[in-house]
Subunit: 160 residues, 2 copies
């Protein structure tokens, strides 16, 4: 069974300001800083991720970048590398599939996934910051978080 790989596109624009190229430049900079080589595969993935934003599963990326003839394994390894240096964030929608999204201060947000039609909406407000302060007070540093919401969207509700 090929679970819920095809999820709806976002219903709102993540980047109405067309700041893709800036994000890409910064990303390539981070790559250098981390002494990772600027290979074709990595550049192709960063171009895609900064423009389309996500979240995408490794298989999604493999399919959507198939003209680049990259191995799925390379995509897994590249995403792991990107995650380690903070270029992407891993999302978990609870279906056993990892999804990744380009991460930057500006772009940080969370999602609601409709339990029925699997559509994804962005939530711009990140209330986790208040909790983050609590976590800091507990003595933690270098804090990150995951937060996803699940619900029934209005369309699915009205359809019964």
């Amino acid at each position: 069974m090929n679970k819920a790989h095809k999820l709806h596109k976002h219903t709102d624009d993540c980047h109405p300001d067309h700041s893709h190229d800036q994000a890409l430049k910064r990303a390539l900079q981070v790559l250098k800083t981390s002494s990772l080589k600027g290979t074709q595969a990595r550049i192709a993935m960063l171009e895609f991720l900064t423009e389309k934003h996500g979240p995408f599963s490794p298989e999604d990326l493999h399919r959507m970048l198939k003209e680049k003839n990259m191995d799925l394994v390379t995509i897994y390894r590249t995403l792991a590398a990107f995650e380690k240096i903070g270029l992407v964030r891993r999302c978990d929608f609870g279906d056993g599939i990892s999804r990744y999204e380009f991460e930057s201060e500006k772009s940080h947000h969370h999602h609601v996934i409709c339990k029925s039609c699997k559509r994804i909406d962005n939530i711009d407000k990140c209330a986790a910051q208040k909790v983050q302060r609590v976590v800091e007070e507990m003595g933690y540093s270098d804090i990150s978080h995951n937060m996803e919401f699940f619900g029934l969207c209005s369309d699915c509700k009205s359809k019964g």
Copy 2:
């Protein structure tokens, strides 16, 4: 490789009021209401989960309830059934392992996982409620959420 299965115990008491048995009673009630049979396996798991609370992976439970001679598959199926009727909540710590925790209104909370020593602390404050209101305004109903924090605990920080 057997990833981070052995996580530290919580460093604070979840239930200083010893309300295990009450929670267990209510859980068994929910079982009946959902027309699920009160089998040995289910009762053993509920006893364990209401007392020790979690979060536990299926394998954790299998190991810790090994005197009951339950098959791992039974544990998977039971957890799935419990999750469906809201008796447990699934947590994702981003390491590819599902962990489950007994869920009740009183017990609802989130975690911080130390990236280094894997210790888990509870966060009692659930700031997700404000975001939940935003999600409601977007038209969603029947909303649930996952939220986990990751950081470096003070012990690990001082050890370098």
